[in-house]
Subunit: 376 residues, 2 copies
């Protein structure tokens, strides 16, 4: 089976590594020269819209998928006329626009933070009146890892930040006071078979995911699964999907979803019977899904901006390193380390040992600083 991937970042890289072990073949299309896939499969460096590049992709693929959600949906629609594109363009469209994403959730009865569409200064003023402050203002399209958003704490902030973000359609989201940020990775096969991974509890640093950990018998597991199931059924979804939630005293609110394998599911490479990458490939190839049963307790720490020597990490028992072959740059995800343990106490000890050997995403600090204020 030949698989075409739109995008050639580290998610594509890990798909290719998982898939080539199964004897699957790949080609990727990505406009960026500096790819993580490197020479692991055939690749083409061209704009997504290039007709010749799309023809090349189609020729060498039985099914097409993508490794990030900002691929032009027009391209997916075009490809879908000739071969299966999984997950489909509908899922991508729903997530590319934060307003549509929230509206979809509302339609499905899935709780989200209160929101308003904002295109003008006047609309922002009424959003502040209706939703109150603090309030978070985001671009409806684009933006990731905390980019494309500002937090308005007081009335004066509207004027102060308006110019930095205005000019494109925006969405204002009411402030949500939450206990934890969690995410669930789920997978659905061509036949509708659905599996869920253990919930990951996520800690960010400077807007970038820093640590994901899985707790045994997480109290939000069942609720997260039920929300993911209804979203996947609605989208007739095929492949891996990831939902991010705020856990509030009143229950889970969906923050956003990603129609793809996800950073917060990297622990599954060693921490689950079948990794999110293998299961995504099984799903899009129409193969039976693999078990998502956890193997012990797991965590994942991102390596951002610089890579420690492998030996310093592998000294910590239960750890495995994943380096993406990317050139180091501040704020860039260069790799991650997974770690497993048999007890929560031992897992926390190992996470702490790893943390002391890794520069956090926001860079080195003289003193540990208090956690970022939590916001929605």
């Amino acid at each position: 089976v030949n698989i075409g991937i739109l995008g050639a970042g580290q998610l594509a890289r890990m798909m290719v590594l998982a898939g080539r072990a199964m004897g699957l073949e790949f080609r990727t299309l990505d406009p960026k020269e500096d790819s993580s896939v490197g020479d692991l499969c055939e690749r083409c460096v061209e704009p997504y819209e290039s007709p010749a590049a799309l023809e090349w992709l189609r020729e060498g693929a039985d099914v097409v998928t993508f490794d990030f959600e900002n691929v032009p949906t027009r391209v997916l629609h075009e490809l879908a006329q000739q071969l299966p594109v999984r997950p489909g363009a509908a899922a991508l469209e729903a997530t590319q626009d934060r307003l549509h994403e929230k509206q979809l959730m509302q339609r499905l009865g899935i709780p989200v933070a209160p929101f308003r569409a904002v295109e003008t200064r006047a609309e922002l003023t009424s959003a502040i009146q209706e939703l109150g402050l603090p309030l978070i203002l985001k671009t409806r399209r684009g933006g990731y890892d905390g980019k494309g958003q500002v937090l308005l704490r007081e009335a004066g902030d509207a004027g102060k930040y308006w110019d930095t973000i205005a000019g494109v359609p925006l969405i204002a989201e009411g402030f949500v006071s939450f206990e934890r940020e969690i995410s669930i990775v789920a997978v659905r096969g061509v036949d509708g078979d659905t599996r869920f991974y253990r919930i990951g509890e996520n800690v960010h640093d400077s807007g970038i995911l820093w640590i994901s950990r899985c707790r045994p018998n997480d109290p939000s597991q069942a609720e997260a699964e039920s929300i993911a199931a209804s979203l996947m059924a609605e989208l007739d979804y095929v492949g891996v999907i990831t939902l991010e939630f705020f856990e509030t005293p009143g229950g889970l609110l969906v923050n956003e979803f990603a129609p793809r394998v996800h950073n917060s599911g990297h622990w599954s490479i060693e921490g689950s019977v079948t990794s999110q990458f293998e299961n995504h490939l099984r799903a899009i190839c129409g193969l039976p899904l693999g078990s998502t049963r956890p193997l012990g307790l797991s965590a994942m720490l991102n390596l951002v901006g610089e890579l420690p020597p492998r030996g310093a990490l592998l000294e910590v028992p239960g750890s495995h390193v994943h380096y993406y072959g990317k050139r180091p740059r501040r704020g860039r995800k260069l790799g991650h380390v997974t770690v497993q343990a048999e007890s929560e106490r031992e897992l926390e000890r190992r996470i702490a040992r790893l943390q002391s050997r890794i520069v956090p995403p926001g860079g080195r600090r003289e003193l540990p600083r208090p956690e970022e204020p939590r916001r929605a």
Copy 2:
């Protein structure tokens, strides 16, 4: 870290897949065009002795290893003058000649089947007198998967088979009546740290490994570990080593050892915290070794000669497929499937389901035939 591999078969392929996930880079040298490594790393198709090829390998490598044991040792000695070769030429030399291998075991007090060196018809006659019949006659060098050996059952067989095998140095081995064929994969780091995998119980078909399974609390585990430890210490071994044993009522006899990752350890990819491939790389790179703790009960079935559709195998719960990207040919190892379960009973059920979907190494048969006579 850059790794040079002599040989580019499926063992090199699985090393490369494990290593690239860790961000290691590889180049391979192998005279065969039809390699399993394919485009997964830089490779050179030249004789092992080619000075230009060896220069190319050296340039792009911080350490050199090999994926099979018939590399000319002269090449390893030459490379070892400029960079570490792990495991070393000593291990390779010991295993390339079955007579030297047996003599090494004897020196270490490790039990082996009775043997005699045979170069002439007269020596064969006295070997038969001393060791009795049946007796197995093997070439001292070369030969694998049952090739390069004949079984002499009665006196007349000596004359009958002499011409098919004579002309090269031979070894005659006395017949050993054994209960099981087992193997152990072990790994030793640069610092002498040593880990052992769970014993695999091996079933062959037409001289080719067909099924390896791991039993919980295998009664021969401790004895196998102790033999492997003394051999590794003697050779100051670095990397993964595999020892094959006959289990007899009097204890274990070493049949042979392989100074490399091994087919009977493929179950470790999903069945152990750290696979044999990752641990071999960790060892030769001087990194801390990973845990060899088993994850449930495991088995591995080889896919020889033809590949079933992936879906037929993946329907069996707990299974994962590994296809090597090789052209199908009768008797050729094209892939394998691993399977895990929580109980022996469930594991046996899953093995039986997989067996019914796989052509055995010796080919399809109309009726199940009785097991091959066991021989040493």
